[in-house]
Amino acid sequence: MWAMNVHRFARMALGLLWLAAVAAAQPKEAVKLPDSPEDLARGKKLYLGSCTYCHGPTGDGGKGADLSRQELVQAKTDGDLARIIEVGIPGTEMPSAWHMTRREVTQVAAYVRSLAKVDVRAVSGNVAAGKALYAKHGCAGCHTVKQGGVFTGGYMGPDLSSIGMKRSASHLRESLINPPASLPEGFVPTRVLTVSGKTIDGVRVHEDTFAVVLRDFAGNNHSYLRKDLKEVTADRSRSPMPSYQEKLNATELDDLVAYLVSLKEPLQ
C-alpha cells in the first residue's frame, strides 16, 4: 500500500520510529556480517542498485561519503554500519534502506567492508596549500567553513564545514571542475522574467503552483507571485559556481581537494 498519506520524509521518519521500536525491543547484540561469496555477491548487487548513485560503484565516487576508506567515521563497528544502512543518517542525504530485509542489510554492509579492502586511496594533496588556495580564489565569498570557532564566509553556496565527511574526494574534485554535475536541491539556478520586463537571476529557494522565491547572488531574497511573472526557468545544466578547471593546475587541484577532505566539523 505505501500510501501517499505521508510525505516521503515523514514516512521515512515513521520507518525510523518503527525500526527504533524494533531495535529497542531487541537487546543490543554484536552484529556478525556474513562472509560467504554468495552473500558478498548478493550484497554487491544490492549495493549497485541502491547505493551506487551516491557512493559510486567502488565506494569512492558520487555525492555520498567515501566508503572505500579504511575506517568509516560514523560506522566504526559493523553494528553501526548495519544501523546506518537500515535507518540512514537523519538530517543528511543518507537515506534509510527501508526496502531491505535485515539479511540484505548485513549483506550490503559486508560488501561495503570489502570496498575498503579493495581500494585504499589516500588523498595526495597538501592541506595547508589547499587552505591558502581556498582563500586566494575567493571560495569564502560563497561558502562557509569553521575558522577560529566561528562559521565564516558567504551564503551563496553550501556550507562546507563538514564536507569532508559528506562527500568523496572524487566528488569534490568533480565539483570544482564541473560544478553543474551534481546540484544540491537548494541551489538550482533559476531566472525569472517579470511582467514589467525585469530579469532576476538566483537560486531557487521555493517554487509552487502560485509563487516563486529566488535568492540572488548578493544574497537577497525575492518573492514573486506567478501572475507577476512572464517566465520562470530553472536550469539544472548551469551552476552559480564557476568552474575552476582552467584556474587550477593539477597540483593545486589536489591540494584544494585535500583541504576540503580535511573539513570534518561534526554535524550540529
Partner: protein, 535 residues
C-alpha cells in the same frame, strides 16, 4: 442589539434552538437518499455512489471569491490528517490519527465529545497511523481503529457501545479506512498489505458487533479463482482494504477496491495473476457473496493498489443508457466498467506510463517485457505512488466529467528478498523516485465515456488531495505544498485559493447549517472550515 445577561444564556439559547435538530438518527433510508439532504454529509464519499458531489450551490462560481475562514479546529495529531468529516443536522464527526474520534458543532467548531481508543505499542505499520473517518447508522458512530478493531460509539456522547477485534494487529493487520454503513450492517476491511496478511472485507451487525460475513480478498481452496497464486503464496498475499467502497441500492451490490499482492515488488514468489489483488470486487451486501470482480493489474509488482473509491455513474455509453463504475487507477489507466457484470467498457492512460502497450478488449493490460523491478533498479512510469493514489476523485452530474488528482513521476523499482515472517514487513523491494526530474501534478477532467481529457489544471508537484465538486459549478481540491483552491468545474479556471502553508492529505467536503453553506478541509494538523464573507 440586546446583549444577553450571561454568556451562558446565549449559549443555552443556541443549544435550545438547535437541540431539536441534534437528535442524531440516521437510518439506512436516509443514507440511500442522501442526495435529498445535501446540507448533510452522511457517508464517507457524501453519497453511496462515491461521486463526492454535493447538490449545494450557495457557494458558486460567481461568489466563491468571497470564501473566507469561518472557524478552525486544532488537533494535536502528529499523524497524516486524512479524515473526511461526516455532518448530520448541525453536528460533525471526525477522526484524527492515531486513535481519536470527535464530535463538533458545525457552526463554531466547539467540541461536543472526544473518544480516545487505547492502542497497543507493538503495531506493525507501513505508513503511519492515519484514519480516514467514521460511518453513522441510527444513533451510532462506527470507527475502525489502527489496531484493527471496529468500535461503536453513541453519537450524542461518544460513549462506547461495543468493540470487536477484526484481526490480530501483531500479524500486521490494521485499519485506517472509514467504514461503510449499509442496511443493518457495517462494512469494513483491514490494511496491512506490507505484512503478508490475508486481506478481507467484513460485515458486522450494526447493533451487536457480531460478524455476519467475511469475504477473503484472496480466494481459498474450493474457490474457482484459487490457483491464481503459486503454491502457498495465497496465504500471505495481502490484497488489503484501505479505502471505502461504494454501494448500488438498485442491485444491493457493494463495490470495493483491493490493494497490492504481497510481497509488493518481488513477484517471483507468487507467480500467477494473484486474484483478487489490485481489483474491484462486487459483493451482495446480504450474503457477502461475490457477483463479479475486475482485476486492473494482474500479478502487480509495482504496488499499484486499486484502492481508489469506485465512482458509480448512471449515464450513456456509446449511445445506450448504462450503469457504469469508473476509476482512475494507480497503474496510470482510467477505466469504465459495466456495473452490473464488471465487464470492461473502455480505458486509456491518464498520465505517462511505460509498462503496458495498452489494454486489450477485456481490459487486461498488455504488459511490456522487462518492466518488473530488478535488483539494480528499473525505471518505470508511474512511480510507486501511482498515476493517482487513494485521494478521492469526483464525478459531477452537472458537467458530466470525472475529475482525478494526477501524478506525473517515474521511479526506479527494486526487487529484493522476500521471506515471510509473521508480523514482519514483507516488501520484497522498493523504489526510488527519479532524481533530477521535475515531477508535476494536475487536476484532470476526463470524459467518462472515453477517458479523453477535457481540461487540466497543472500543479508544481504531483497531487494527492481529494476532490469535491458541487452544484455551484465548483471543484475544490488542494496541493500538498499548502494551497487549497476552487476551480470552475466546467473549464478548470482558477477562481479562488487560500495559502495555508500546511500539508494536505485528505479531501474537502461541504455541508450547510442554518441555511448557510460551509466547506471543510483538514489542513496541517487542523480542520479548516470556510464560508462566504457577507457581500
Amino acid at each position: 442589539m440586546r446583549l444577553p445577561l450571561l454568556g451562558l444564556t446565549s449559549g443555552l439559547a443556541l443549544m435550545l434552538a438547535a437541540s431539536a435538530a441534534w437528535a442524531q438518527n440516521v437510518p439506512f433510508s436516509r443514507i440511500v437518499e442522501a442526495q435529498k439532504e445535501p446540507h448533510n454529509w452522511l457517508t464517507y464519499s457524501g453519497n453511496y455512489n462515491g461521486q463526492r458531489h454535493s447538490a449545494l450551490d450557495q457557494i458558486n462560481v460567481s461568489n466563491v471569491k468571497r470564501l473566507k475562514v469561518a472557524w478552525v479546529h486544532h488537533t494535536g495529531t502528529t499523524e497524516s490528517h486524512e479524515t473526511t468529516p461526516l455532518v448530520v443536522d448541525g453536528v460533525m464527526f471526525l477522526t484524527e490519527g492515531p486513535n481519536i474520534v470527535k464530535s463538533l458543532d458545525t457552526r463554531t467548531g466547539n467540541l461536543l465529545w472526544r473518544y480516545e481508543k487505547k492502542i497497543p505499542q507493538d503495531l506493525r505499520l507501513c505508513c503511519g497511523r492515519p484514519n480516514r473517518g467514521v460511518a453513522i447508522l441510527g444513533d451510532t458512530i462506527y470507527y475502525g481503529s489502527i489496531d484493527a478493531h471496529l468500535i461503536a460509539l453513541d453519537a450524542k456522547t461518544g460513549r462506547i457501545k461495543w468493540d470487536v477485534e477484526m484481526a490480530d494487529h501483531k500479524l500486521g493487520y490494521s485499519s485506517t479506512v472509514a467504514p461503510l454503513a449499509v442496511k443493518d450492517k457495517i462494512l469494513i476491511g483491514a490494511a496491512g498489505g506490507e505484512f503478508g496478511i490475508r486481506g478481507f472485507l467484513d460485515a458486522y451487525d450494526a447493533r451487536t458487533g457480531k460478524r455476519v460475513w467475511r469475504f477473503h480478498t484472496i480466494p481459498g481452496p474450493g474457490d474457482p479463482e484459487f490457483g491464481t497464486w503459486e503454491g502457498d503464496s495465497w496465504k500471505t498475499g495481502s490484497a488489503a482494504i484501505w479505502t471505502t467502497g461504494s454501494y448500488d441500492p438498485a442491485t444491493n451490490t457493494t463495490i470495493w477496491g483491493t490493494g497490492n499482492p504481497g510481497p509488493d515488488w518481488n513477484g517471483d514468489v507468487r507467480l500467477g495473476d494473484n486474484l483478487y489483488s489490485c481489483s474491484f470486487i462486487a459483493l451482495d451486501v446480504d450474503t457477502g457473496k461475490k457477483k463479479w470482480h475486475f482485476q486492473f493489474t494482474p500479478h502487480d509488482t509495482h504496488d499499484w493498489d486499486a484502492t481508489q473509491v469506485p465512482v458509480l455513474i448512471d449515464g450513456t455509453f456509446r449511445g445506450a443508457a448504462k450503469k457504469m463504475v469508473a476509476t482512475a487507477n494507480r497503474n496510470a489507466f482510467f477505466y469504465v466498467l459495466d456495473r452490473d457484470n464488471g465487464k470492461f467498457l473502455a480505458g486509456k492512460p491518464f498520465v505517462k506510463q511505460t509498462w503496458a502497450k495498452g489494454l486489450d478488449d477485456s481490459g487486461r493490460p498488455m504488459v511490456i517485457a522487462g518492466t518488473d523491478p530488478t535488483e539494480e533498479g528499473n525505471l518505470v512510469w508511474p512511480s510507486l505512488a501511482g498515476g493517482t493514489n487513494w485521494a478521492s476523485p469526483s464525478y459531477s452530474p452537472q458537467t458530466k466529467l470525472f475529475y482525478v488528482p494526477a501524478r506525473e513521476q517515474g521511479a526506479f523499482y527494486y526487487k529484493g528478498e522476500a521471506e515471510y515472517k509473521p508480523g514482519v514487513i514483507f516488501n520484497g523491494g522498493g523504489q526510488r523516485v527519479k532524481p533530477d526530474e521535475e515531477p508535476y501534478g494536475a487536476i484532470r477532467a476526463l470524459e467518462p465515456e472515453t477517458g479523453n481529457l477535457k481540461w487540466e489544471f497543472k500543479t508544481q508537484i504531483p497531487l494527492n488531495v481529494g476532490i469535491l465538486t458541487t452544484q455551484g459549478g465548483l471543484l475544490f481540491s488542494g496541493i500538498g505544498q499548502g494551497d487549497f483552491f476552487a476551480l470552475n468545474a466546467a473549464t478548470g479556471e482558477l477562481l479562488w485559493r487560500f495559502k495555508t502553508n500546511g500539508p494536505m492529505n485528505s479531501g474537502p467536503m461541504t455541508y450547510a447549517v442554518d441555511g448557510k453553506q460551509y466547506v471543510a478541509m483538514p489542513i496541517g494538523r487542523s480542520l479548516y472550515v470556510f464560508d462566504l464573507m457577507e457581500s
